[in-house]
Symmetry: C2
Subunit: 278 residues, 2 copies
Amino acid sequence: MSWKAIGIFDSGIGGLTVLKELVEVMPQEDTIYLGDTARVPYGAKSPETVIRYAVEIASFLVKRDIKLLVVACNTASALSLETLQNMLTIPVVGVIEPGARRAAAVTRSGRVGVIGTEATIKSSAYTRAIKRINPAIEVITRACPLFVPLAEEGWTGNEVARLTARSYLAGLKETGVDTLVLGCTHYPLLKEIIAECMGEGVTLVDSAEETARTVAEILLHQGLLRPAAEQGNHHYFVTDVPAGFIRVGNRFLGGNLEDVHQIKLEEAHVQEGSDVAA
Amino acid sequence: MSWKAIGIFDSGIGGLTVLKELVEVMPQEDTIYLGDTARVPYGAKSPETVIRYAVEIASFLVKRDIKLLVVACNTASALSLETLQNMLTIPVVGVIEPGARRAAAVTRSGRVGVIGTEATIKSSAYTRAIKRINPAIEVITRACPLFVPLAEEGWTGNEVARLTARSYLAGLKETGVDTLVLGCTHYPLLKEIIAECMGEGVTLVDSAEETARTVAEILLHQGLLRPAAEQGNHHYFVTDVPAGFIRVGNRFLGGNLEDVHQIKLEEAHVQEGSDVAA
């Protein structure tokens, strides 16, 4: 058993969908969430820069003595997971692997679509993860750069969102995929319009649920789960001022977001003798 | 006369439109451009964060011994100009003041519209600048958060862009403005669709030209212009890897973007005894 918290980070606010699932599956666990709101978004940035940001964030969270790290951002998972796993001695869980597992389990036609940010799609991380599970599955990918700004503008059901979705997804639909991975934590907000474009025969896969299950399994197997009777506490850190995060976050979590603190990441350095591998 | 370069910065690539005008007006001047591509965009970030970034960038450029600093980003101009002017002993020129001057000169009806990022519009910087010139002018503003991602996606003439522009601008048009300030360096890329939405009677004001004229005047008055026969050199710094900047930048400048270097801003500190005011 470990009383330590679960660390979780995203480029901004989207990772709260993963946090929500974590809390649903393991209400007894403490969590520490970090949203890099001063540098959001990551989706159009280079692997080098995203990895540097992920390492800074992981170093900050590890100093707070977490027992497991969740990379709740598809772009950061796609680009930095291996670096973080090599750097840290605690388990590091991304959202790509769980999403890929779910997609491979769900598809019947053997044709899976994946949508995400430019950086995620360019990395081919989903394609590799799905093919590791089942090399026979055909994976068709498409970057949808405007979905994040649309979701943040709250334009999730209007004609602009519908036309944009059609423009991005028409080609994908024609390929005959029966499963579509929403490879970005913002995309579930556009679920209805995406489902409408893809038609009834296509199952949408949201990584959040599957990621929470994966985390619960790891903690269980390693004997790190807190007693089920406990009630976890939740702390939040952001790199820009908290106001916007609190406002939108309350919409995401459907509750009162409290205890949100602003930090400067560039000042965070990895503590010696901590959980960081030599 | 001063042989020093003109420093110029933007959150990313948009400021190149201002650089282009500077070079057109003063081909003899050296320039040093910095695009903060690792942290772009600024438009939805807080004043505190944008000011911090602007100060880091100004400190970096001042260390390179510039004779004047152009803040070629509307958001940074709106939020950080005063801080930078107080901090530095060299002239600091933003894009708001020149845009406001042009709008005030152009309007006949006395009703001016301003569009920009959320941060720029929230700051009311344009409204204040226009009213300082002519308090009788009525200023109507509107944030257009999706214009930047649309321009970056290259969707500047399709149906999504048209619908988005209509949705943002319909209310503005109804107010009867005869002048519209494009208060973001990305917006000139959407000029055609914006003009189409606003109708023939509305003049669009792009700050780049007016800003270049302002810079030329200051250098002339302070005796800092280089001899007209010279040919300036142009250096570029970015905070993310240069590839994307070079690709899109060539489209902006219509030429061969060379000499682009990546830097880490967090390491830049203000040099003592430099051009920084005590």
